[in-house]
Symmetry: C2
Subunit: 572 residues, 2 copies
């Protein structure tokens, strides 16, 4: 074999991983990483925590240096080298050195584009002002950290309630700021649905952070006082927020300019289109990471999902395919990237928020109808056995088809959330049906789970829904009783609170009838059988048991309010 040459553009998640794996597959390929910045292989995902001093050492963020990559992997890492253009015919790239501005041309046999993405900075008045930052890489981080160290801001505003925005809100709080989050949508954390986000909203506010929803930024104004820099943020509503430091975190766009100019196929959002081998429309050019369009795993649509896990996985597959293409590895070892589910998790103050697959908003956007095209299970469970100290409630939502196909799941809670989303993500990836979750034999001892793990419970509940053993009202069903009555073809809705009297003293749904669980058999004649009876309790388990009593006693219209009091109180 001739000595082959692979040029990789971008030296972080996708790029460095492709390089490392490729080297392990072959000693002889010449591997060059072109990185326009000064750093490679750093922990983007750790940046917010370094700003909040949760991660103390800046060095901890730098996983590999160019020197180590040279010594250990024999990779020619060229930091401060920006690729300006790609000449596909000549198979060369034009590169500019940051050090002296000089340019040169480098040839390749295969090119890998792992240029990532860039935060969007929309053309809003004043957005370039002092004290307004985006966070994406090490220099950004240094700027923010230095600004905080020098100016000691006491007020901060985060524009955008995605996971990076929320991590920054938390870390700015850690750094001593009073924080406001401004989000244009009616919820933070887009991967979860509104009612799940409401749990997060409540916690954000409990942590003393101001949360402004459904409001966008109209302009930024510098209103610095002699004592220091300050920005006034005027919102669409007219409201104004003043902050000494502002973080913009309102979305990202793929760094696909190079690819576009080179005539590679892009999608509408600028994502590079690749085949399942991660090859672009040019057979010598691969692309991985944030910059590519991926197959959405569930419904096989096309989308963009900028996450580190997928970038790393794609990189390893890409390296294998390059090696196979060069005849180094057997063709049969070529790897296919099967798509991205969008499994994600974030720590948001006291909560962990996680999701995988499609959410309900997306299903609705796709024209799917609740209770026809998809079903919803929302349940409340404990992170581990309730009798062992430290257990905390977690709320799980799962969406699935009448055939049992799992569309997606979302979980919010203090503990044990990441575990359950990983189990469900695994089940989805391996093609499990919703009811299969009940079969999963998960590890149980009191500090870790319950004999019926929350994921098993989701499986039970899904099976019950599919077999007509239980029906739930929507999370906002109690507020829309008339609508619900019409939809169900009943004269009215009766909300039946089955909690004990002492619980009802603490909280009661408006206009509800009260019969504690243990008295339902004796007192069901008090209920109007023509109505839809919606059972209600703290968690949803007693409601479910009562619903079964009523259904088995000839009541025709019975449904359960999902996940009980805690959920209901947060969701409104």
């Amino acid at each position: 074999m001739d000595k082959k040459k692979v040029v990789i553009i971008g030296g972080v998640a996708g790029g460095a991983t492709t390089a490392a794996r490729l080297r392990r597959l072959n000693e002889n390929i010449e591997i060059i990483i072109m990185e326009k910045g000064d750093y490679i292989s750093y922990a983007n995902c750790g940046l917010p925590y370094y700003i909040g001093d949760v991660i103390k050492e800046r060095e901890a963020l730098l996983l590999q240096t160019p020197q180590a990559m040279k010594q250990r992997f024999n990779i020619d890492v060229r930091t401060g080298n920006e690729v300006l253009s790609i000449d596909r015919k000549e198979k060369t790239v034009k590169v500019k050195r940051a050090s002296d501005g000089s340019e040169y041309v480098e040839s390749y046999d295969n090119l890998v584009i792992s240029t990532g993405s860039t935060p969007i900075v929309p053309p809003i008045e004043g957005i370039k002002g002092e004290g307004i930052f985006t966070l994406w890489n090490i220099p950004d981080t240094d700027k923010i950290k230095n600004y905080i160290t020098e100016k000691k801001p006491k007020t901060a505003a985060v524009i955008g309630g995605g996971f990076i925005g929320l991590e920054m809100a938390e870390n700015l709080k850690e750094a001593g700021c009073s924080v406001s989050i401004i989000e244009m949508q009616d919820q933070v954390m887009a991967p979860v649905d509104y009612e799940m986000a409401q749990l997060v909203h409540e916690n954000i506010r409990m942590n003393g952070v101001e949360l402004i929803l459904s409001d966008g930024v109209q302009k930024f104004e510098n209103i610095s006082e002699p004592t220091g820099n300050k920005t006034r943020i005027t919102l669409s509503s007219g409201k104004a927020v003043d902050a000494e430091i502002v973080i913009l975190s309102i979305g990202i766009k793929p760094n696909s300019g190079l690819a576009k100019e080179a005539g590679l196929e892009l999608n509408q959002r600028g994502g590079i289109i690749v085949d399942e081998y991660l090859k672009t429309s040019d057979e010598n050019i691969y692309a991985v990471g944030d910059v590519i369009e991926v197959t959405e795993f569930i419904e096989k649509g096309k989308t963009m999902i900028p996450l580190a896990g997928p970038a790393n996985k794609q990189a390893r597959i890409c390296a294998g395919n390059i090696a196979a293409g060069f005849g180094i590895l057997d063709k049969s070892t070529e790897g296919i990237y099967e798509g991205t589910q969008g499994t994600s998790v974030a720590k948001v103050f006291d909560f962990t928020v996680a999701a995988t697959g499609l959410n309900e908003k997306t299903l609705i956007r796709m024209g799917r109808k609740a209770n026809e095209d998809y079903f919803v299970a929302i349940i409340n469970q404990k992170s581990h056995a309730g009798y062992y100290p430290g257990s905390a409630p977690i709320t799980l939502k799962m969406l699935f088809s009448p055939e049992g196909k799992i569309f997606g799941a979302q979980i919010v809670g203090v503990d044990g959330v990441d575990k359950r989303i990983d189990v469900i993500a695994t089940a989805i990836r391996l093609g499990a049906k919703a009811a299969d979750l009940q079969k999963l034999e998960l590890a149980y001892a009191p500090p870790y789970s319950s004999a019926k793990d929350p994921v098993n419970m989701l499986g039970f509940v899904a099976e019950n829904i599919l077999k007509g053993v239980v029906r739930f009202v929507p999370w906002d069903g109690l507020e829309k009783r008339d609508e619900l009555a019409i939809k169900m073809g009943v004269p009215a809705v009766t909300v039946l609170d089955v909690t004990e009297s002492f619980e009802r003293m603490a909280f009661a749904v408006e206009d509800s009838v009260h019969i504690p669980f243990g008295q339902v058999r004796d007192r069901m004649q008090e209920l109007d059988r023509e109505n839809l009876i919606v059972t209600f309790c703290a968690i949803g388990v007693r409601s479910y048991n009562v619903a079964r009593i009523l259904m088995n006693s000839g009541f025709k219209h019975v449904a359960v309010y999902p996940a009980g009091t805690g959920f209901y109180k947060s969701a409104f």
Copy 2:
């Protein structure tokens, strides 16, 4: 339908759950629980923690009372009612009331046996002595708790190093005792293999607990002093251990006497044989829980796996099948129990120890040969991103076939262990191949995991093993170099330490050559190409990278020492 009557023997995990689900499926069936003890529906698994005062309230252990089961589920719970015999022809049971010793006969349409198991108390001299206890139910717990409260023992011995024994050791330590564990085998925690158990042994000892392995009890002697009760335990080795309190935890046997006398089919170990519908050899009798023989999920052999998760799952399926048998549910909703993997987890001092599927000991016992019939991957990973505070090492072992079938996995570590075993248990249950683990899209943010989750890493490593990209030596390979050399047909073994000099100052494998990772390309001529080169480092990752350099540079015999220094130091 005539009113049907179901009698359930045993009112805890399997029994109470069968009853509850059956009631939810139908209001009219008469359901009777016969429980010989005074309590139903209690949290067996929490008992050790109540003794250690980790669980403060005794009430927290009692999940349902007979009264509540009556009120809420309309179940006739008869505590203090022991079933003495079953008359299969008449479809009746003979029952004895503890209150007055009277007996009566109760008829059934279906009978469910969920009688559980009982701790084994072998006929060892002195075993019935004062201060010697077994722990299985609430009265046992009360006895132990009272004894501790009254006698305030300062020394304790636990006989048997299974999970209950270890939980008791930990909780007796919590209760202020100096504890000795005595185990006949050379390891505790039978579900994991010896080298994984060694990590646990180290931690037990670090926690100041005396651990005596490979030694059995020969006799117990009461050597009470005026100051209090004391037992002398004489071991096979001649060693003696004195303890004021002794807990026996050396195994259990199924409570299948009733079934045996009734002529139901049992296996050799006394387990009731059931079909996949959980029906015994009598078509009106079902059995669930500890008392039954189950299909071992991996290789479909028959075994007994007494765990709460399986008992609960079986109970729910059993209830469904009873309902289907009575024509209440459609036959198509009959459920099948597909077998038990034996997924288990235990908190053992600072560690979590977990396993699922078959271990290597079992494979060897089945006649399987390493590197022919099965492969072993042992890796060391961090519980979450190393740069985020609080991450801790976890060691994962996976066994898989040349075709990639996963036989089982074991994990030991301080944090994140239960999550990874659940993901692997899910993958196994859903039929994933070892290399499929790399595809799993698990949730990543720095507090929870790494962009390549430890489970993904297992998938990478498994793929590498199966494709010949890497080879590992056994965990004890460095101690058996001559053997290894003969097996590999090489003149000798060279252990190549690729750590940095400062690391080597802290620890070095005996008789090893030292070339740091970054110098290997330049200095590989120092190595004898005829030898087997075994690379060694702290974690296994550098060793692997160096192995690849050597393999790709024409070295024919290269292997990696798995999981690195920490593991090596513990395993010996």
